[in-house]
Amino acid sequence: MKTIKGTSNRYLDINLTDSTWSVYHVSHQDLIDFLGAKGIALKIFHDRFSRDGLKAIDPLGPDNLLIYSMGVMLSTGAPCSGRFEVVTKSPLTGLMVGSSCGGYFGEACKTAGWDGVILSGAAPEPTVLRIDSGGASFEPAGALWGQGTHEVQESLNLSPKEGAAVIGPAGENKVLYANICSGHRFAGRGGVGAVMGAKNLKAIVARGKEITYEPARPELFDKTLEKSKKYIHRNGVTKSYRLYGTNANVRYGIKSGFSPVRNFRDRWHEETEKTSGEAMAERYRTRHSACRHCSVLCGHKGHYPDGKIRQIPEYETIGMFGSNIENFDPDKIGIWNEEMNELGIDTISAGGTMAWAMEAAEKGIRPSELKFGEPENISSLLKDIAYRKGEGAELAEGSKKLSEIYGGTGFAIHVKGIEVAAYDPRASWGHGLGYAVHNKGGCHLGSYLISLEQLMGYMPPHTTMGKAQWVVFMEDMFSAVNSLQVCLFSVFGIMTEPVIPKYLPKFVLNIATITMPKVAMMLMDWSILSEYFMSITGIPLSKWGLIRAGERINKLERWLNVQMGMTPDQDTLPARFTEERDTAFKGKNTVVPVKKMVRQYYRLRRYDNTAGPEDREIEKMMKRNRTPKQVKPARSTIKLIYCTTVMAVLGWFIPAVACRKTSVREEVRALPDDFKLRFAIWPSGPALSLMRVGDRLKKVALTEEEADMTVYLKSLEAAWLLLTFQESTCGSEAAGRLMVKGDLPHTCTFIRLMDKVEILLLPRFLAKRAVKKWEPVK
């Protein structure tokens, strides 16, 4: 089994249209700038499309890219590192979407030696793609097409080395919020499953366990591992996730009023407790069922009354298919969850669309089979959505498109097309800002400020002060985290476990976080994340470097969105959150002053009037360390002046003094009559030209063409060594420092002449160094 240090930096680049593949190499500089996973995938989009090209991509067409991107952390065994990112242009929003997913596919791909898979084009018929360390192969999907996500994974008969990423019927039928399944985890949002279905790809199977990865700095890695395990285990939030799964949030929602109730109208309902994590844990005698390498263990399975063991739905599903549609029977939600998983449908968007349809029907805008508090037809409608039958055909388009056709945009609870997650932002303004500005749309995991505002209580929820700063900070942090990639849940523990935030009194923190955000940020310690990156790749990265990388990734994503047609008016919340104050919630009722916070956000991000970064900023980002540096040769003025002076002195000395000596004249006679000799520094340095006149040498001015023989010193350095007598003339020639143009035989005479001149000119002890044999010159 081969071992690679760090990461392989190779992506499988697959063209589904002609069933070919090649290798894409991630450059070292790309790794430094964009970290991996989401960052690298965005860079690939940037590199492969022109600005107009980005806009022109049809998300469900063959020119869209679907990129599975793994990240340096995967397969290192670090806690919560078993995730990968799926990036593409979303058919639901028309903008970039990145969805994180667990399951075994990521690790299988990585241990097959691939840091990612880039899919372009579209297969001519339903296909299964097989990946291993040797490359890719293509098979017809055959009877697999039409099967559910778990059914098809069964049919594929995966060996323990293999992991698959598949779509269900929803993806096949290009439901705009279809998802991709890996194991029993999902890349949920934005319709990534529809893109895969449009490419006629039913499944990708990766056979791994061929390559192992070794961190570049093993001791640092081990140290970081220990520290992070400690933090995650201790942390309060992850503790509650460990016990009750993400549904631990339900009770918080009831208390603080962020429960989604009746299409987000009411914020509270007395029966919501029935769907709380604690209630369900008891009811279903739950046990863990989580991703590989997970320390948080938020996933749970339980025994349902009908005798089946099912995965307990996540908080989002419980919310969107519970209180949001006025259903308080958790058993049903469990069944629907299973059905949606099998069909391959995103539960948040499905729930949000259905809730809108219910309200639209109530208000008489659009007739629907759906009704609040009537759960009987949900299952059949889910099937209809997946197969685009009956009302499902329209519901498959999502609430944004439907509300644009029928009206009712005020209560279409989405941002940029993605249905808002099960957290009502009127309970948490910072979280509301997060929804409004997140590049992806109404996804709660852009900055997840509700964790700080409500779940952990570090920040007062109903003020705008400092929120923009925190949203920027958390967005950058999460962009970096999604590029490493680690599970966001582990980040809570890592960030908040350090002593200060843990033990500082809450009210102090509440003041500090909004009045002195930078100080409060420094109380947190996310150096574990940068240390992971550094120890695995060997690339130095500080914790602020990590944030800067995250900023780059975030801004790149936004810029891509702007090219794809995003406009500033999309950075907002549905009217329900900005206009409807009074609800059934008995606590504080507010509306979200989102415009003000968005303005603050733009200012902090330095966005121009496109609500995105300036083109210049992106260009500069792409040029980092990629243009050659200039090295200016060292110029030595002293040496130049010295050599010029010595040459000038020789020019006087030789004719005036040396030629008086008999033995010197003897040598001159060895030269032909009128012999023209030049001594110069290459290529155009100071030169000395002499001509034989009678039996003496006279100083003249000569060009190279005129001289019979030119002796060149190859460089100023060589001249310096010769003329400071550190090297003898013969030594200089022996070292290869001289070049002679013209009549070579007279070189000997020249050298003997030089020797005699040096003997005459220099005191004996110096001259001895310069010549082979010191003899007085007669």
Partner: protein
């Protein structure tokens, strides 16, 4: 078995050698060089960049390993093995610039056309033990023998670009060489002597079905008019490679033609001098038929211009042939007398290379090996001429000695020897054999240490061990005199041990005392006198001539 000696490329070592690389680049018409810095060594790489002279390149681009190196035509790799491995298959010219002794450790064979070890980055004292031995061993496929402690001078330059194939049927490599360089219609140069000796068939057999153009009228000296007419023939027949098959004059003439057709200059005079010839693009293969001159790896070409009554001297690294083929079958028929004097010629080359001032550790290794091979095989080859094993060894020794002296130069033996040859028309090898011991005696005081070490190569380890240290230098000279005596005996008196022994075909003495003045005068003008460790004036030369008469 056919052995191949690799080309070392250019090795520049010592103070201010980075600046010399720039001149080389200029010679090759490099337009856009770039320094590629190994990750983690950017600071030192920048320092290396600064050492490259001002004046030629106003500033140099520097990029990292992963940077975009497409637009450049010359790569300066500043780093270690990981960097050179990365660019191993890159076809462009490359210079390797190690930045620390650790990088040197990693080198075991030539990776790039240039290797620059500048004193500013790697101090002489920090050179890894046995580095040059390892390097030269890689060049010769392990043939090099250990010469003991390496003497590393402050500065030296070593260059060898010829790839040598040698062995009993080395000519079988010829088709492969021609294919490798894409030669479809070579020009084959030789002289009547070769043709009448029946050796031409060895070469023509290897042509397979390639068309070739034959010119076999090369006279015994290389003349400009012959060179020009052959060049015309080459162009008319649209040849695309040159094979020079013969002795010194054939090879020199071949080089003249090579210059003419590669550079397409009207007047070769413009190229006369040392260091001014750029890399020649047309493939040139040298197939020597004599063993000893090392002319297949020399950097010199001498072409006479009888009209103007002068000889043009061309000296350049780029005059070394691309390929040389030493086929022992070609020298098998060499009579004992010629074997002995060419063998001693090689011996002189090697000994002078080892003792003269331009000596360097790479040429030392080669010279040492050459001397050892001659010690073991020269007298044996004279006694048993048809034994190919000895011929092979002699061919290798001659070649190694040739490479050695092409870089370390020769000294007074050659200055006087050339002059005796010019004035008295005596054979080159005879002059060398006779003059070697007396000149060494003249130089002895200055080169005592080197001569002492040489005793092991000249006479074997036993003799070396049993001779007391202060007597070794003298013993070396004595051993060489003994060689001359032994060879004289074996060749029936034809191999000379004194100047007066050198005779022409009729038995008449070639060297007379009246010639001494002229010889001494001429010697003073011979370039090799520069490299002799001891200064020699006219009276010293006369003294030497008298001593060995």
């Amino acid at each position: 078995m056919i052995r191949e000696f690799k080309a070392a490329g250019t090795v520049l070592f010592g103070k201010a050698m980075a600046a010399q690389l720039v001149v080389e680049m200029e010679q090759q018409n490099v337009k856009k060089p770039v320094i590629i810095a190994q990750r983690g060594f950017e600071g030192r790489a920048r320092k290396a960049g600064k050492l490259l002279t001002a004046g030629l390149y106003h500033s140099l681009d520097m990029i990292g390993e992963e940077g975009d190196h497409e637009p450049y035509d010359f790569l300066i790799l500043a780093g270690g093995k990981s960097l050179t491995d990365r660019f191993r298959d890159d076809e462009r010219q490359k210079a390797h610039f190690p930045l620390s002794p650790a990088h040197l450790e990693e080198i075991s064979e030539p990776e790039c056309q240039f290797l620059v070890i500048d004193n500013a980055l790697i101090n002489r004292r920090n050179i890894p033990e046995g580095f040059f031995r390892k390097y030269s061993r890689s060049l010769t496929g392990g043939l090099v023998l250990d010469s003991g402690e390496e003497i590393i001078p402050r500065t030296f330059a070593y260059h060898n670009r010829t790839v040598v194939s040698h062995g009993d049927s080395a000519l079988e490599k010829l088709p492969e060489i021609l294919s490798r360089r894409g030669v479809r219609k070579p020009l084959l140069l030789t002289d009547q002597g070769i043709v009448s000796a029946g050796l031409l068939d060895y070469v023509t057999k290897e042509m397979e079905n390639r068309p070739f153009v034959l010119f076999s009228e090369i006279p015994s000296d290389s003349r400009i008019d012959i060179v020009n007419s052959i060049a015309e023939l080459y162009k008319k027949e649209h040849c695309d490679g040159i094979l020079a098959f013969g002795g010194g004059s054939v090879l020199d003439t071949g080089k003249g033609v090579w210059l003419n057709v590669s550079l397409d200059v009207e007047d070769l005079n413009r190229l006369a001098g040392s260091g001014f010839i750029p890399r020649l693009s047309i493939p040139f293969v040298a197939i020597p038929t004599t063993s000893g001159t090392g002319s297949e790896v020399t950097k010199v070409a001498v072409i006479s211009d009888p009209e103007r009554g002068r000889k043009m001297l061309f000296n350049s690294d780029n005059l070394q042939p691309d390929y040389a083929i030493l086929d022992s079958r070609l020298t098998a028929s060499l009579p004992p007398f010629l074997t002995s004097i060419t063998g001693m010629d090689a011996m002189t080359h090697a000994v002078e290379a080892f003792t003269c001032i331009a000596k360097n550790p790479l040429s030392d290794q080669l010279a040492w090996t050459a001397i050892s091979l001659l010690r073991d095989h020269l007298t044996a080859a004279v006694e048993d001429p048809s034994n190919l094993k000895h011929r092979r060894a002699l061919a290798a020794a001659s070649n190694l000695a040739g490479s050695a002296f092409s870089n370390s130069m020769v000294g007074l033996v050659h200055s006087i020897g050339h002059s005796v040859g010019a004035v008295c028309h005596a054979p080159h090898g005879s002059c060398m054999s006779v003059l070697l011991p007396p000149v060494l005696r003249y130089n002895k005081e200055v080169v005592k240490k080197d001569l002492a070490r040489l005793l092991e190569a000249v006479a074997g380890k036993e003799v070396y061990d049993e001779t007391p240290r202060d007597k070794r230098a003298e013993r070396t000279i004595a051993e060489l005199e003994l060689y001359n005596m032994k060879l004289k005996e074996l060749t029936g008196g034809r191999h000379p041990s004194k100047l007066s022994d050198i005779k022409n075909r009729d038995g008449g003495q070639l060297v007379r005392e009246e010639d001494f003045e002229a010889i001494a005068e001429t010697s003073l003008g011979d370039g090799s006198i520069i490299y002799n460790p001891v200064e020699a004036r006219k009276k010293d030369i006369l003294m030497i001539l008298k001593e060995c008469y």
